[in-house]
């Protein structure tokens, strides 16, 4: 008798295992997280009572992944989601907050299973293009163009184009800025520097002055590779300008062309002065922001997020008291202008299975009023017309001005290029910092990857 029970039990067990296995193989969506942050929000009523909207409210769930792991961003996004859910009782927004690197890994996993979130963080460029090629994103051009382009016209054209591929839009920007030097005015004064440098020679002189005053000139997180890549990218942009990069990208030229090799040589000149904090070669971007935020280094080269992140990463959560911003200095004899900028921003891409409500919600997120609020919190530079009012910080206004007046706007190289090449490029720049490759070898490594990935 008991034997029979065991036999039946084991059959049931096996069946359960087999079914579970089939289940994962077929739908392969075990990675959809139970949306941990949703716990902090009041559960949205699914059965809509007397709804404010006249539209028949079928319950809709929107999965939203963003990477603002710390305040002010974390509660700002949460607040907007709650507002939207209150106004649309049929909509439930599941927010998943992920740290930058974890987000990239996790997103790739769900993309491979063909099940992207409805709304997720995007930087546009090569990464987004490969998602489009795989059919993972939704073409939102019709939504942008509806009502004679009412929504489209709220964006700066340049910023919106970062999220377009072959004339179609797959996402929208909520922040568009640039990379430049953020500096600690007090430390500059202490080292006897009265004016910010405008040429590379001046810049190197200032670095020496800071060193002489016993101050670490530059904080750098080269363990993450892209922070150091920004220095090389700017040098290449200043030396070769738009023509050099366009030639190399379109394969009419090459990444071993003189401007790129010279940029590595200039970078070596800087590294030879030992301007970085100890252990910078394995430091992360957050280490770098913390070091700068604690007032231990005079400068950092980073994007518009610099002020908010250095504050969040500083020990006292106050950050640098007297913060300034200056454009990357010009390189003598270079083709690039001082007003050429490199940078990028943050946006939201729309997943292929997103319901129309998701697009409506993104429209709400990027409305002028909300973008102005976002800017006021110092989270970024709004690329939306009419949101400038939120920018009160003179540094942020300077960044906004620079982006608006840019003679040439280059999305970060590692973001603009296909993912495999962007990563190879970052690796190559790190070899220069570590002194394990010559400028020619580093440029050649980038060119090798370009041959494979740019066709």
């Amino acid at each position: 008798m008991s034997r029979k029970i065991y036999t039946i039990l084991s059959i049931v067990l096996i069946g359960a295992f087999a079914l579970a296995a089939c289940g994962t193989a077929a739908t392969s969506a075990p990675t959809q997280p139970p949306a941990q942050p949703a716990a902090t929000q009041p559960p949205a009523p699914t059965a809509a009572p007397a709804a404010t909207n006249t539209v028949a409210s079928k319950p809709v769930t929107i999965n939203w992944w963003h990477i603002s792991t710390a305040d002010p961003g974390l509660s700002f996004w949460q607040g907007l989601a709650s507002q939207y859910m209150a106004a649309h009782p049929n909509v439930t927004i599941n927010i998943t907050v992920l740290e930058n690197e974890a987000f990239k890994t996790k997103l790739t996993t769900v993309l491979q299973s063909g099940n992207p979130p409805d709304i997720f963080q995007s930087w546009g460029g090569g990464d987004m293009n490969s998602q489009v090629q795989a059919g993972m994103l939704q073409d939102i051009t019709p939504a942008l163009d509806a009502d004679n382009g009412a929504w489209r016209n709220t964006f700066g054209a340049g910023a919106l184009s970062v999220y377009a591929y072959q004339g179609k839009n797959y996402g929208v920007p909520w922040d568009m800025g640039m990379v430049g030097f953020w500096y600690n005015k007090d430390l500059f004064t202490k080292a006897g520097i009265t004016d910010t440098p405008t040429t590379w020679t001046d810049f190197l002189t200032d670095v020496k002055k800071l060193k002489a005053a016993g101050i670490t000139p530059i904080a750098l997180g080269e363990g993450d590779k892209w922070p150091g890549m920004h220095i090389w990218m700017y040098l290449a942009t200043r030396i070769g300008g738009e023509p050099a990069f366009d030639a190399a990208y379109s394969r009419k030229g090459s990444f071993t062309d003189p401007p790129f090799v010279q940029a590595f040589q200039k970078l070596q000149d800087l590294i030879a002065l030992q301007p970085f904090q100890p252990g910078y070669l394995s430091a992360t971007h957050d280490d770098m922001e913390g070091y700068f935020g604690n007032g231990k280094a005079a400068m950092e080269l980073t994007g518009q997020w610099g002020p908010s992140v250095e504050t969040a990463d500083s020990a006292d959560k106050k950050g640098v008291a007297n913060l300034g911003f200056f454009n990357f200095p010009a390189v003598e004899g270079g083709v690039g202008k001082n007003t050429d900028v490199a940078g990028g921003g943050n946006g939201f891409a729309i997943g292929k299975n997103a319901p129309p409500e998701a697009i409506d919600f993104v429209k709400f997120l990027t409305s002028a009023a909300n973008e102005a609020q976002m800017a006021k919190l110092g989270m970024g530079i709004p690329p939306v017309v009419g949101a400038e009012s939120g920018l009160t910080d003179p540094n942020m206004l300077a960044v906004k001005q620079n982006v608006a007046n840019a003679t040439y706007f280059q999305l970060y190289y590692d973001q603009y290029l296909p993912p495999a090449m962007g990563s190879a490029l970052n690796d190559s720049v790190q070899t220069i910092f570590a002194g394990t490759a010559t400028p020619q070898q580093a440029a050649q490594a980038i060119e090798d990857s370009a041959k494979q990935n740019l066709k």
Binding site: T7, L13, I14, Q112, Q131, E222, G223, P278, L281, A434
Partner: protein, 315 residues
């Protein structure tokens, strides 16, 4: 030999008529094996074959794999200096483990397994690192190894010694691999020590006493009695240690990401870098297969040379 044959002979008479009871027994065995076996097929056998398939493509993981490249991925791996460096690093760690970590574990096992005062205390202390998860271990040591003396304990202590500069440790391409080895040893010597201690318990006291009566000193006792009798345990630990070093990933990735500039690259971090950072999944699959072949080759050769590790007797 005879015993084995005898053992095989015993059930013979019962087997002659295939009784329904026997068939049922087989069925029960099959049923109980099935869950594990199905999982094994899905999570081990199937991925290996799909890796073989994808390794022949240039594929970024999105959409179907269509760009067939044949064996190009493998050619590229074997021509890549960084992969060769990763293999070299792995084998360096293997060698260091064998000549430093295991003898240390053995020495400690002999000490705490015997007459050291407070040995229970030491045993617990030595085994503690092994209980920690790899992630936590890595994060603890990241802090200890910080290049900034105001944050890293080791550098904070070092600069107390006059004339010594703070060291780069994980940010120094010449020191990083050694640092990783220190952490790996710290984490895993406790496991090996425990295995040796278990092995020591199996050595009959009489043999050691006989040797002592014959006038053997401590050293002779250890080299001529203890170690030879521990040989099956030692073979097992060597096997575990080598395979562990060859496939090491978590600790290294969290501490150094294989860097700076591949100075602490292991085969597994190399695979991850290409598979999941650069999203060259075809190439990554090929790397995984090369890793599999290296580990398989080691296993086969080692088992041939050293004989089957006597797991049950050893542990």
């Amino acid at each position: 030999m005879e015993a084995v044959q005898a053992g095989r002979d015993i059930p013979e008479p019962h087997q002659q008529p295939r009784s329904p009871r026997r068939t049922r027994d087989h069925l029960t065995i099959a049923l109980f094996l099935a869950p594990a076996f199905i999982l094994f097929l899905i999570f081990l056998v199937y991925p290996i074959f799909s890796s073989i398939y994808f390794s022949l493509f240039n594929w970024n993981g999105m959409g179907a794999a269509v760009d067939f490249v044949g064996l190009d991925n493998f050619k590229q791996i074997l021509a890549d200096k960084i992969f060769m460096r990763a293999v070299g690093d792995c084998f360096l760690i293997v060698v260091l483990s064998l000549i430093v970590q295991l003898p240390l574990a053995l020495a400690l096992a002999i000490m705490v397994g015997r007459d050291l005062p407070g040995r229970a205390f030491f045993r617990a202390i030595f085994f503690m690192p092994y209980v920690l998860s790899e992630v936590i271990t890595a994060i603890i040591w990241l802090g200890l190894f910080s290049a900034d003396p105001s944050r890293g304990l080791i550098n904070a202590l070092l600069i107390l010694i006059p004339g010594i500069q703070p060291q780069g440790f994980l940010s120094d391409i010449h020191q990083v691999l050694l640092c990783v080895f220190v952490v790996l040893s710290w984490k895993y010597f406790g496991l090996h020590m425990l295995l040796y201690m278990a092995g020591l318990q199996n050595i009959p006291k009489e043999i050691e006493e006989a040797a002592l009566i014959d006038g053997a000193n401590r050293w002779q006792l250890t080299t001529h009695i203890t170690v030879p009798l521990l040989s099956s345990t030692i073979r097992t630990t060597i096997y575990l240690s080598v395979l562990g070093s060859l496939t090491q990933f978590t600790l290294v990735w969290i501490m150094t990401k294989g860097g700076p500039v591949s100075a602490s690259e292991f085969m597994a971090t190399y695979m991850y870098r290409f598979g999941f950072v650069r999203f060259m999944l075809g190439y990554g699959s090929a790397v995984a297969l090369v890793m599999l072949l290296i580990c398989l080759a080691f296993s086969v050769i080692y088992l041939r040379l050293a004989g089957q590790p006597d797991y049950l007797g050893g542990i």
